[in-house]
């Protein structure tokens, strides 16, 4: 068994990584995780990444070995969907106490594993290592090995303590654990020439199910989805697939590449976001399967489905084109989405005023230039402050991003859509893209934005009003003081004329208009015009005359 450090180094060396391809060997050794900046860092840790990558396995018990923070602060926060077991939603943690820190937590871990098996008897337990037990030397590999033997049940160590690096590194470490302990350990009940793996697809909001019907229609079977709506038995026997699609290249490229290496399963990087993208992925899947021996008619059938779906989607998006005319979108995401969604938005008639490329590969960037032209507004990195300003200045009509920048957009009173993990709508496949367009339309056409952008009433009110002083409310409501206070009220602030003066003037001279009052008193009749009017109409005899 390799050490954690060796595993990490190995991941940094990943030859399948497009970024790595253009680095020198020395650069590669340095690792690809950006050095964290204390005091200005954001984003999750390696443990977070490992958990995100594996938790969608629905029938597995996920046990976090660490103090309460790691699991207690984070569980039940993801919207992956399951068609079967809900065990993945149950949270298990050793909740290490000070005693454990002093005496070591291995015993508690052992006991915890037993408790879980006694209660739930899951097909497997994934044990996640965290910083503190790693620091105090808890050997989870050894504990898991012993437990596996004792309980005759896979107990898999996921060795990815937070402080070894970023979330992305954690995704890959999770992949390594699958490769080391899970994949290839069981055999499927049967195989077909149409068996595929999806790698790095998490079925958030159940979005996989927007695409699966098309695969079903074509007879393509998802032997294993790693890890959305996944089952332990499926991933354990996933080495028998004929082809694989790497859905999110950033998270699990090591799994795809090593499965190709070890089991000869060819893969391609693809996505189901956007129309072109979805079509291309279906095409590639068919091609790979046919190359591996599936009947060649699959290609034709696939093209037929693609043609039908594209026609439907284009027809569905069509009506929105005129509605989106002249509307500008700002896209802050990364990787594949940075161009696949660009394409879809353009198809719907939106103008893209910028897209971020922070997490994109060179190939991604090329695609963007293709789509948006050479002078595309490509955003390498953007601070929240800049984003806020950009939106406040109405450089864009809508922003699409992940939840992290949600409140930056909203506080600028700008339409915003979540297109990352936390969203509650599913945007995958053709159906999903139409849904996305609908959601954009719903957001853009809401009358709410205009209202929120109006100035607050105090901003609208004259400055003079703001500076006025008024007697205490208490006095105003005291009948004894009321009349004095009443007459003493300043009606015109600019010239400090009080009510008494105005009233006296009205009665003395029988005044009927603001202009007349202005002549006879010192009132300016500007800001106080309405109030003087009020006093004038309040003369009942005058009013009765007018009514007659």
């Amino acid at each position: 068994m390799r050490s954690l450090a060796a595993t990490v180094q190995n991941i940094f060396d990943e030859p399948g990584c497009a970024k790595n391809g253009i680095k020198s060997e020395a650069e590669r050794k340095n690792g690809c995780t950006k050095q964290l900046q204390p005091g200005s860092a954001a984003g999750g840790c390696a443990f977070d990444g490992a958990k995100v990558a594996l938790q969608p396995f629905t029938d597995v018990a996920h046990l976090v070995h660490g103090p309460i923070a790691c699991e207690g602060n984070s569980w039940d926060n993801r919207g992956a969907a399951s068609s079967g077991s809900n065990l993945w939603r149950t949270s298990f943690t050793t909740d290490l106490s000070e005693t454990d820190i002093v005496f070591g937590g291995e015993k508690r871990l052992c006991k915890a594993i037993k408790e879980i098996i006694d209660k739930c008897d899951p097909p497997a337990i994934f044990v996640y290592q965290t910083c503190i037990p790693a620091m105090i030397g808890d050997d989870i590999n050894a504990v898991c090995k012993a437990a596996s033997q004792r309980f005759a049940k896979p107990v898999i160590p996921i060795n990815s303590p937070g402080f070894v690096g970023s979330k992305n590194l954690g995704n890959k470490l999770a992949g390594e654990a699958l490769l080391d302990y899970v994949i290839g350990t069981q055999e499927p009940d049967y195989t077909t020439p149409y068996d595929i793996n999806l790698i790095g697809e998490y079925n958030l909001s159940g979005e996989l199910w927007q695409v699966k019907p098309l695969l079903d229609e074509l007879g393509i079977r998802i032997l294993s989805c790693i890890s959305g709506d996944g089952k332990y038995r499926e991933v354990a026997s996933s080495h028998r697939a004929r082809a694989a699609m790497l859905v999110c290249s950033k998270s699990m490229i090591n799994v795809a590449r090593k499965m190709e290496q070890r089991y000869g399963i060819p893969f391609f990087e693809g996505a189901f976001y956007g129309i072109q993208d979805s079509s291309e992925s279906l095409r590639q899947l068919a091609r790979l399967l046919v190359e591996r021996g599936a009947p060649a008619d699959l290609l034709g059938r696939t093209e037929a489905v693609i043609a039908r779906e594209e026609a439907w989607a284009r027809a569905a998006i069509g009506p929105y084109r005129p509605r989106f005319e002249g509307k500008k979108a700002l896209l802050i995401t990364g990787g594949v989405k940075s161009w696949s969604i660009v394409a879809a938005l353009q198809e719907a008639g939106l103008e893209l005023v910028g897209t971020s490329v922070k997490k994109s590969t060179r190939k991604d960037k090329e695609r963007i230039k293709e789509l948006m032209g050479q002078d595309a507004h490509v955003i390498e990195d953007i601070t929240p402050r800049e984003m806020f300003k950009m939106l406040k200045d109405a450089k864009a009509d809508i922003m699409l991003s992940g939840g992290k920048s949600q409140f930056v957009a909203l506080k600028a009173a700008m339409p915003w859509l979540d297109i990352n993990q936390e969203r509650c709508h599913a945007y995958m496949g053709y159906v999903g893209m139409v849904k996305l367009v609908e959601e954009i339309d719903k957001s853009l056409s809401s009358p709410m934005w205009e209202q929120l952008r109006r100035p607050a009433p105090w901003q609208a009110l004259a400055k003079a009003m703001e500076q006025m002083q008024s007697p205490a409310a208490a006095i105003a409501c005291d009948p004894a003081l009321a009349e004095t206070a009443r007459r003493a009220r300043k009606i015109c602030v600019c010239n400090t004329v009080d009510l008494g003066t105005i009233e006296d003037a009205i009665y003395a001279h029988g005044l009927r208009s603001v202009a007349a009052v202005r002549e006879h008193t010192n009132a300016a009749g500007g800001c106080c015009r309405r109030r003087i009017e009020g006093i004038l109409v309040s003369d009942p005899s005058a009013m009765v005359q007018a009514a007659e």
Binding site: E438, Q451, C477, V544
Partner: protein
């Protein structure tokens, strides 16, 4: 501009409407020491009483002239006289408010003449205000009765100011529509007082029906605006009318006393409250207090948080005109589509409702429209519960009656804070309903995305959208 459609059915099914006389009686319940009296058969009172008791969960004063068949034939003078004397002797009211009903209107009772006669025969009643309002059951609806009663109260009880009777610009009359709850009125009271204004609410159901524990048993209303305070309303600087139904009462006030008025048709939502705050700031000469600046920010923030859930919803609302106008306006502002709208009676605000068509109809109509238009949120009073259950829709209760939940009297919709809470409540209702009913499953998507066999599954973007939503 909405088209207003009148009913064509002979049979109203699951009525939305409540009758005019009890709307009128309700207005008198906001007066201190009052005894509302329905001039009609005792059932008219008994049904109304039960309705109020179930809504407010309070003992409610309401009396009847107990017209029998024989009395109806002979005319209601004697019953009215006896009722007034009986109430006067037994409950020592500060005022009796009399509303006619269908029975006595059909009969043609001349109540104004009766009252003159009664007064002349019983000098002990000289100082007891008796306010009569004509409210036949077979015309109008609840809010009409309320509006008419308030206008009559102003006509009869507000004193014309003396020759040079000066007014106090800090004194403000507030004429709230019957769609405001005691909670709403208390909220408005605090707002006005925070501007240094001295409000008089006519009627003030917050004083009488807010739920409180009296030390002694009292058969009339406890709390509410006193007759003396009403008399002095002519000295106010302004009258604020809330809801179009109060326009007439405000006009009567102006004609009689010269107090200028402004009608606020809506007080739920951001912009309506901006206008309200601006107005209060202008008439009080005070800046908008910090508290409301913060509340405005909180409302804006709530709108942002909630628009993901309320925006795009297709809403079915059944309510009296002013409430319908206010609620539908707020929801429209949040990006919802008011797709089915049913109301009880004519009003000039109806055609300005942001929807295609407003039906003067019943809950059967609302249910039907909600079904046809695939609405996904139902808003009406408690009687809508059966429809909501059948349609399996999230159901927000508003208006009168609300008998199957507690706290009807404290439901808030006015002001920045009230709107904020209302928006949260509706959004949370939608979220909870989605959680329970719309979790994604492999099969739902399958139906949505459709397999080739299932023809017509994608006839339009809208349809596909619906099934995914």
């Amino acid at each position: 501009m909405a088209i207003v459609t009148a009913p064509t059915k002979a049979c109203a099914v699951n009525p939305l409407k409540m009758s005019q006389p009890i709307g009128g009686a309700f207005a008198f319940m906001g007066l201190r020491g009052a005894m509302p009296l329905l001039h009609g058969s005792q059932g008219c009172t008994s049904f109304g009483l039960t309705l109020f008791v179930r809504h407010f969960k309070e003992a409610v004063p309401l009396q009847t002239t107990a017209m029998s068949e024989v009395a109806t034939v002979l005319g209601g003078y004697e019953n009215l006289e006896q009722a007034i004397l009986n109430i006067y002797n037994r409950t020592k009211p500060k005022i009796i408010g009399i509303c006619s009903t269908g029975v006595t209107e059909t009969n043609g009772d001349d109540v104004d003449a009766y009252l003159k006669l009664i007064r002349s025969k019983h000098p002990q009643l000289a100082k007891l205000p008796l306010v009569y309002v004509s409210t036949p059951d077979f015309k109008g609806a609840f809010q009409d009765g309320w509006g008419k009663a308030v206008a009559r109260i102003v006509e009869v009880l507000v004193e014309r100011p003396g020759a040079n009777g000066l007014r106090d610009p800090l004194k403000v009359n507030v004429l709230p529509g019957c769609h405001l709850t005691p909670g709403d009125i208390d909220e408005l009271r605090v707002i006005l007082e925070d501007f240094g204004l001295c409000p008089s609410f006519l009627p003030d159901v917050a004083g009488s029906l807010d739920g409180h524990i009296p030390d002694e048993f009292t058969p009339t209303t406890i709390g509410g605006i006193g007759v003396d305070e009403i008399a002095g309303m002519g000295r106010a600087g302004w009258t604020i009318a809330i809801g179009a139904q109060m326009q007439r009462a405000a006009e009567v006030m102006q004609v009689k006393t010269g107090v200028p008025f402004r009608v606020f048709e809506r007080l739920c939502g951001l912009c309506p409250n901006d206008e309200f705050m601006t107005f209060l700031s202008e008439i009080s000469g005070r800046p908008i207090p910090l508290k409301y600046r913060r509340q405005r920010g909180q409302l804006a923030d709530a709108m942002l948080d909630a628009h993901f859930h309320i925006g795009g919803r297709k809403v079915a609302i059944g309510a009296e005109p002013d409430l319908l106008f206010d609620m539908s306006g707020m929801l429209h502002d949040m990006g919802a589509q008011v797709t089915a709208a049913v109301t009880t009676t004519q009003s000039e605000v109806i055609e300005r409702i942001k929807t295609k068509e407003v039906l003067i109809g019943d809950l059967e109509d609302l249910e039907g429209l909600a079904k046809t238009h695939h609405c996904d949120l139902l808003i009406t009073h408690s009687h809508g519960r059966q429809a909501a259950a059948r349609l399996k829709l999230p159901f927000y209760r508003t208006g009168f009656p609300m008998f199957d939940r507690l706290g009807a009297g404290h439901q808030l919709s006015v002001g920045y804070r009230g709107t904020r809470n209302l928006i949260f409540e509706i959004a949370n209702l939608v979220i909870a309903h989605r959680e329970e009913n719309d979790q994604p499953t492999p099969d739902r998507w399958r139906t949505a995305a459709g397999l080739p066999r299932c023809s017509g599954y994608r006839s339009s973007a809208g349809a596909a959208g619906r099934s995914i939503a």
